[in-house]
């Protein structure tokens, strides 16, 4: 039971409209990721849903009930913060049990629910420690534990993995996805990392300057970006854009081609260029090619395609996978 609907929601700080106007529907049980560059208003949007900021206009409906004026605690949502925001002087047990204690739950009920949450999150051995005695990943799990004991209608995550190292981040990503499978509760997740968005989301909301650029499943956004911004933001390495006379044969103002959809050859092709930097990842190699008359393009080739700095190569875009955009940056379909 956790669908969230935003109607005409806007947020203004002084004269600056951080979020001009947003309509969005989040269905029950969905894993929705807000993604966008820093300063795009994705965290503000999450805080509006949480009730930590007041909306300037519009309404927020949670579970069919207008929650626009409700204080955060009464919205039935839980939030995991970027800094985890654990209470430093309390043990892990008290941290996880805090929301229940504030709800005046019975001591025995609290103990049982805390023990259950700790078991799910592998924290049973650490219940009597203080947060400062835990590693980053463990703190993250305590923060999640504190969120799940309340059995909220929806979880809100505010860039929860950005303070973890790369290996741990991949791990926690899996754990959170697994948790979503187990609990089947609505999750709203904010990140600037498009890899997190692609790997975890049922539905991605791409935000730019407070506006929604596109909403869709990860593969929708990858295959059918609505505009230049989404095309450039989703996918790694990012899409190559070609405009001007080189794009004319494709009947577009700007044509885009992903690095993985460029075919490289040492003999012949549509464009020719000189290899600049080659990033060898083992399985793949990312080649930064200085294409004549166009500029730098990134191409992904198989790891055993042997070229080095200064070699001449030919690139041919896969015609089926060319993205075309008009002069306003919107996709031509």
């Amino acid at each position: 039971m956790g669908n969230i609907t935003l109607r005409n929601v806007s947020k203004v700080f002084g004269a600056h409209a951080v979020i001009p106007s947003i309509d969005l529907n989040i269905n029950d049980g969905e894993f929705v990721v807000f993604v966008g560059p820093s300063g795009c208003g994705k965290s503000t949007l999450l805080r509006l849903i949480a009730g930590l900021e007041d909306v300037s206009d519009g309404e927020i409906v949670i579970d069919g009930k207008n929650a626009t004026e409700l204080p955060p605690a009464q919205r039935g949502l839980s939030m995991v913060f970027q800094s985890y925001a654990l209470y430093p002087h309390m043990s892990v047990r008290s941290n996880i049990g805090f929301p229940l204690k504030m709800a005046n739950e019975d001591k025995a009920v609290i103990d049982k629910k805390v023990a259950d949450a700790a078991r799910v999150l592998n924290l049973t051995d650490y219940l009597d420690r203080k947060p400062r005695q835990l590693s980053g990943g463990q703190r993250q799990r305590v923060a999640i534990g504190r969120a799940i004991v309340r059995q909220p209608k929806a979880f809100l995550f505010d860039e929860p993995l950005s303070n973890l190292d790369a290996a741990l981040r991949v791990n926690m990503r899996l754990e959170i996805s697994q948790l979503h499978q187990d609990l089947k509760t609505t999750m709203v997740y904010v990140t600037h990392d498009q890899v997190e968005a692609m790997t975890m989301a049922d539905k991605i909301v791409v935000l730019n300057r407070g506006r929604i650029e596109q909403v869709g499943s990860p593969l929708d956004l990858y295959h059918k970006p609505d505009n230049l911004f989404v095309a450039g933001f989703i996918g790694s390495p990012r899409m190559n854009f070609v405009s001007g006379s080189s794009a004319t044969p494709y009947k577009a103002h700007t044509m885009g081609i992903r690095p993985e959809h460029l075919v490289l050859s040492k003999e012949s092709g549509t464009w020719s260029g000189t290899v600049g930097v080659a990033e060898h990842l083992g399985s793949d190699t990312f080649l930064h090619v200085n294409v004549d008359d166009i500029g730098t393009m990134t191409a992904r080739v198989s790891g055993d395609f042997a070229v080095t700095h200064g070699d001449r190569v030919f690139l041919t875009p896969d015609a089926q996978r060319v993205h075309r955009f008009d002069d306003k940056g919107l996709a031509i379909r």
Partner: protein, 290 residues
């Protein structure tokens, strides 16, 4: 300090400060201890003779001594209570966003910058005076009899004056501590359904515990030796009602000209201060660790 050479160089470098400390602290202490065993009265110069522990036994059996111990503790505890409770309340208020925040914060520290004698005189003559004082005027406004604070409640008046002076110190320390509280923690508590009061009890107060400890420790050191405020307002009186240990030592030495007895009192004060410090560190010192 890795090699023998740097170690001996370091010793050489700190030698001047060690010698200075010796001269400035050990010598007066040694002389005080020496005087405390002499019969040494300023009215009878040249008649000093060894007196054993009689100075100590006189000082310790003086009825004023127990009154002074009580008054010293009353001043320390009373001022600590007012400044810590009031300091937390003021810090919470000053932490709220408001117009002219910067100026208000500067004004708040003003009492701390005023000399103790001046502050006490201002209180004595402009506030607490039963004829001309502001409090008397307010009392008359309501048709009440003015209350002579310094005559009828001398100890409470001294506590009030000293607390007024130390309140800014406590407020500032606690305010800075309050501002270092992570905003996300407060928001997390809000999401967790904690009321404003619960947030204060479970989040703000534990966060402030270290700052409160610092306030208590520093203030105790200074409050054990309150002197100027007593000298210019009540002069320790009426009787010995507002005499603390420091003032008793002063009275012994410079009003009764008994240097030997005063020295014994000084040594006793040092021992008592150390006892207080010992218990203080045991009780609250552990919050400073880690």
């Amino acid at each position: 300090m890795a090699t023998l050479h740097t170690r001996s160089a370091a010793r050489l470098m700190i030698a001047p400060s060690v010698l200075l400390l010796l001269a400035w602290m050990i010598v007066p202490l040694a002389m005080t201890i020496y005087f405390s065993f002499l019969r040494y009265n300023l009215l009878m110069p040249g008649m000093e003779e060894f007196a054993g522990f009689s100075n100590y036994s006189y000082f310790l059996t003086d009825p004023a001594f127990f009154q002074a111990i009580f008054n010293t503790l009353a001043i320390v505890l009373g001022v600590l209570f007012i400044t810590v409770v009031g300091g937390i309340a003021l810090a919470l208020l000053l932490d709220q966003p408001m117009f002219g925040q910067g100026i208000v914060r500067i004004l708040v520290i003003a009492p701390f910058l005023i000399m103790p004698t001046v502050a006490a005189l201002v209180w004595k003559n402009m506030f607490m005076n039963p004829v001309n004082g502001l409090f008397a005027w307010v009392a008359k406004l309501f048709g009440l009899q003015p209350f002579d604070f310094l005559a009828n409640a001398p100890l409470m008046s001294v506590i009030l004056i000293v607390a007024w002076q130390w309140l800014p110190f406590a407020t500032l320390i606690l305010l800075t501590a309050l501002q270092s509280l992570d905003e996300e923690q407060k928001e997390a508590a809000q999401m967790d359904g904690a009321s404003a009061w619960s947030r204060f009890i479970y989040l703000v107060l534990p966060h402030l515990s270290r700052a409160i400890t610092v306030v208590i420790l520093i203030q105790t050191i200074f409050l054990l030796s309150v002197f100027a405020e007593i000298l210019v307002t009540t002069n320790g009186g009426p009787g010995t009602q507002s005499t603390n240990l420091t003032f008793l030592v002063y009275a012994q030495a410079l009003l009764q000209f008994d240097v030997g007895g005063a020295s014994a009192g000084g040594i006793i004060a040092v021992i008592l201060a150390n006892i207080v410090a010992f218990f203080l560190m045991r009780m609250i010192g552990k919050t400073l660790e880690a």
